[in-house]
């Protein structure tokens, strides 16, 4: 890395960091919770950290804790993780244009594209004079680091410290709410936001909390595609 590149990276890193502070809080807490949970199931810190670093898939890792403790069945683990993580397909489609032309680091960006990184990177407007590639890299790396580091801390200190962090994981809900509000500021976005909420609520009522994501994705996709046929939305989109 040349010295100008270093300078550019530093600038992008500094401008990206504040965006990730809520994730820092949420991931440290949840990552630690995961590390502790793995310990109570008899897995050492190393296994917890390896799972976080290699699979890096938040909620699926919690689901996988129960899988690890029952009979070894890699095929159903593979299929289950596809279903739990199917929402990433949408993230990819939305990030196609943003992650275009970023060279080798694109592989890393895609590898660690989680809910939180997606919601920040897909909505953040990058300030002028900031290198886009380094900005996305900083967001992705920081979020990834928080999770892995949180897991490590949880495995290491979990049994020693007791702070009442009940409710702190709400920080991620709050992050999504705020980013959602930011999106709704633009009038043309409101209809799409409404579609997302209504479809998911309906699917929650019909399918229950356990099988929420895939039906909701299908419903959102169906409504968005049906809506595209309508001239009014088309016009909206052309503007």
């Amino acid at each position: 890395m040349s010295s100008t590149q270093k300078k550019e990276f530093k600038k992008a890193f500094i401008s990206a960091f504040p965006h990730t502070i809520p994730v820092l809080t949420g991931f440290l807490v949840l990552g630690m919770a995961y590390g502790v949970l793995m310990q109570t199931k008899g897995y050492g810190t190393l296994w917890a950290v390896l799972m976080s670093a290699i699979a890096f898939c938040g909620s699926m890792q919690f689901v996988a804790v129960t899988l690890l403790t029952v009979a070894f069945d890699p095929v159903s683990a593979f299929l289950l993780s596809i279903m739990v993580n199917a929402r990433h397909l949408f993230y990819g489609i939305a990030m196609l244009s943003k992650y275009k032309g970023l060279g080798k680091i694109r592989f890393f960006l895609i590898y660690v594209l989680c809910d939180e990184t997606f919601s920040i990177s897909s909505t953040a407007s990058i300030p002028e004079g900031i290198n886009r590639k380094y900005f996305y890299l900083s967001i992705s790396f920081l979020d990834y680091f928080y999770w892995v580091f949180g897991t490590f801390l949880g495995g290491l200190l979990g049994s020693v410290i007791h702070i009442n962090t009940k409710g702190l994981d709400f920080v991620l809900t709050a992050l999504f709410v705020v980013l959602f509000l930011e999106q709704l500021k633009e009038k043309k976005n409101r209809i799409y936001g409404l579609i997302g909420v209504v479809c998911t609520v309906l699917c929650l009522i019909v399918f229950g909390a356990g099988n929420l994501v895939i039906p909701s994705m299908a419903a959102i996709l169906a409504v968005l595609l049906a809506g595209k046929g309508k001239e009014c939305i088309l016009q909206n989109y052309r503007q």
Binding site: I93, S119, A174, F180, E182, Q183, Y192, G193, L224, Y237
Partner: protein, 101 residues
């Protein structure tokens, strides 16, 4: 086991990028989805976070509802992302640890 979970997860992350490589302009319909999906998906994520709230038992989802109101209120008022998130989360912790404990 770790590897099979990682493989499943990465399949979902890489598929769109493999289907629509950089060298080719993706179809119009995919570009349309790319533009509108972030907003719809954020709506999905908000509801997803609240999926385990029980309206008819326990705390009836009151802490969640109040905290989201605080987050939204703070955000419309001060327009400061971190303040809204920190304020709402602190309020939520107060509710679940003290008021509704």
């Amino acid at each position: 086991m770790i590897l099979s979970i990682a493989a499943g997860t990465m399949l979902t992350r890489f598929t769109p990028f493999l289907l629509f490589p950089e060298s080719k302009e993706p179809p119009k319909i995919i570009r349309y989805l790319g533009d509108v999906l972030p907003c719809s998906v954020l709506g999905l994520l908000v509801v997803y976070c609240l999926r385990n709230v029980r309206l008819f038992e326990g705390t009836h989802g009151i802490p969640e509802l109040l905290a989201i109101a605080v987050v939204s209120g703070l955000h419309l008022w001060k327009k400061n992302v971190l303040l809204s998130i920190a304020g709402g989360t602190a309020f939520y912790m107060l509710l679940v640890q003290v008021v509704f404990a």
